[in-house]
């Protein structure tokens, strides 16, 4: 039984990280596992860099800090600050390439390590590490709206998409109508979220600036952090007047 190991990567502002962001990972993992062909070994949350221009963004280090707090209780999802530390906005495909290279590096050192060991010795736990380590696939976790983005070719060709859509919407038809997408449909996984839970981070920020409760929508640890580094009406307007960078996950569930 050799399942293909998969790493899920989600990009976005995570401003702040909500329960819904984390749900997307859980849904995607369940879906891939139930195909019988994949084993999700890791989830990576990659907050965007500060220099984004979208209204209401506070500094990236806060997003990373909040994501870390939110993911404290998760044993497989982690936050990666690489993208947030770049000087400018990084195209999604570049973020994918970076994390793919990192995974490749880790895989190569693991392979070298196991080659040196006695062939009957096996490492702990994972089903795939009993034999030679298998190179994991890296897939982008996103909302269905991401399918609309034009520069998607390399992503579906080299990596793959796990696309979460709401109950009531069905992107499969959209995929059939696109030559590019239907060509790579084997690498586009459509996951339906039947339990509606659309926690928009924009609404969260509005609620916070109005003094309304966001408990049970956002982890308590994140709420406590926000109380120290307040989202005010001021920060919502801070980026007004800046040009918006190319569309990325706009109006998708990740934002």
């Amino acid at each position: 039984r050799s399942r293909i190991p998969v790493i899920l990567l989600a990009c976005g502002s995570f401003n702040p990280t909500t329960n819904m962001h984390m749900r997307l990972f859980e849904l995607a993992r369940d879906h891939l596992h139930q195909t019988g062909q994949y084993q999700v070994i890791e989830g990576i949350m990659s907050p965007v860099s500060d220099n984004y221009g979208k209204k209401g963004l506070v500094s990236a280090r806060h997003w990373v800090a909040m994501a870390k707090l939110a993911l404290e209780t998760s044993d497989w999802i982690r936050v990666d600050a690489w993208e947030s530390e770049q000087d400018t906005w990084t195209e999604t495909v570049k973020v994918l390439r970076h994390h793919y290279n990192e995974a490749l590096r880790a895989f190569q050192s693991k392979k070298a390590f196991t080659r040196n060991k006695h062939p009957t010795e096996s490492s702990t736990g994972n089903s795939f590490s009993c034999q030679q380590p298998v190179l994991p696939e890296l897939k982008l976790l996103c909302g269905a709206d991401f399918l609309l983005i034009f520069y998607i070719k390399e992503i579906v060709e080299k990596f793959g998409l796990v696309c979460i859509s709401r109950a009531g919407s069905d992107p499969s038809q959209f995929i059939q109508q696109s030559d590019l997408l239907s060509k790579f449909q084997h690498n586009i996984f459509l996951v339906r979220e039947w339990i509606q839970n659309e926690i928009s981070a924009t609404w969260i920020r509005s609620a916070l600036s109005r003094g309304l409760s966001v408990k049970y929508l956002v982890p308590d640890s994140v709420i406590a952090y926000i109380a120290q580094h307040v989202y005010t009406a001021e920060s919502e307007h801070r980026k007004k007047g800046h040009l918006l960078h190319p569309l990325r996950l706009q109006n998708t569930t990740i934002n």
Binding site: R23, R29, D30, E198, K215, L217, D220
Partner: protein, 285 residues
């Protein structure tokens, strides 16, 4: 004037099988709503899980449901769990639970008033003797009799409101007393049928000032039914229920195809009771 605000206690009755983040959100939404009116102050939230005698399909033992609700509210400073209803051997009408909590508040209030009433003169004397003390005089001590009693309002989603229309599920006189003497706080999605439902019922329309409709802008469909379904299918329920509840469910293996079959074929307690009561055949409209 903060002392002029009507104090409100929110009471949620239901199966809580299991409790979810959605249930907990109802309290937060309702409290924000009341506070924004400037006229109310929500002083407490009470979760009252239904007893096993309710006989709903898939209902697991009250012990577990109460425990999970308690775990879920451990870090809330205003929402608590009350197990009085769940301890009764017979199923209780929601109105009876409302009356119980209302009565409980009344007696607590009387006790508090009596306690507050005693030191008035003492306090007065102290102030004369020690003018530098900065103890504020509590206004309510001066007239305990006039202080308004906290209201207990039934907190629910639009599904419970619309269940008023299900034949034999509720007694018309119960619905009347709930909206007349206590009040309803109904959380529903923007663009729902709640207003229409109220409009189409004479009883509800008459007391519409005591029915507070709160719009929920974040669609939140995390029903217990869906949670149980996900669990049966081995799917993750993380971030839909508090983590402590998820861990508890896993440790005790609470939900399975077998647990879902409990009470299969058994008539729901209110339907059983009201079927034999001629008064229940009165329609809501």
């Amino acid at each position: 004037d903060p002392d002029r605000k009507t104090e409100v206690v929110l009471l949620a009755c239901g199966s809580f099988n299991p409790i979810t983040n959605m249930h907990l959100r109802l309290f937060e939404l309702a409290r924000d709503y009341f506070h924004e009116t400037g006229k109310y102050k929500v002083i407490k939230g009470i979760i009252s899980p239904v007893g096993d005698a309710y006989k709903k399909k898939g209902l697991i033992s009250a012990n577990h449901r109460v425990t999970m609700a308690k775990l879920a509210t451990k870090n809330s400073d205003w929402v608590e769990v009350d197990d009085w209803e769940s301890c009764q051997s017979e199923w209780l009408e929601t109105l009876k639970v409302l009356r119980y909590h209302h009565q409980k508040l009344l007696s607590a209030d009387v006790t508090n008033s009596l306690q507050d009433a005693v030191p008035i003169t003492k306090l007065g004397r102290k102030r004369k003797q020690e003018p530098n003390r900065h103890e504020p005089i509590k206004k309510k001590n001066q007239s305990p009799v006039l202080k308004s009693v906290p209201q207990v309002k039934l907190l629910c989603g639009s599904d419970m409101l619309e269940s008023f229309g299900i034949p034999n599920l509720w007694k018309l006189e119960d619905i009347t007393e709930i909206v007349e003497k206590h009040g309803l706080v109904c959380i529903s999605r923007a663009g729902n049928n709640a207003q229409k439902f109220i409009y189409e019922s004479d009883v509800l329309w008459r007391h519409k000032n005591n029915i507070h409709l709160v719009e929920e802008w974040i669609p939140n469909d995390i029903s217990s039914t869906r949670i149980r379904r996900a669990l049966r299918r081995g799917q993750s329920i993380r971030y839909l229920v508090p983590d402590v509840v998820r861990v508890y469910i896993e440790q005790h293996r609470l939900y399975s195809p077998e647990s879902e079959d409990r009470n299969a074929g058994v008539v729901l307690a209110p339907l059983q009771r009201n079927a034999t009561d001629p008064r229940s055949s009165q329609a809501l409209n």
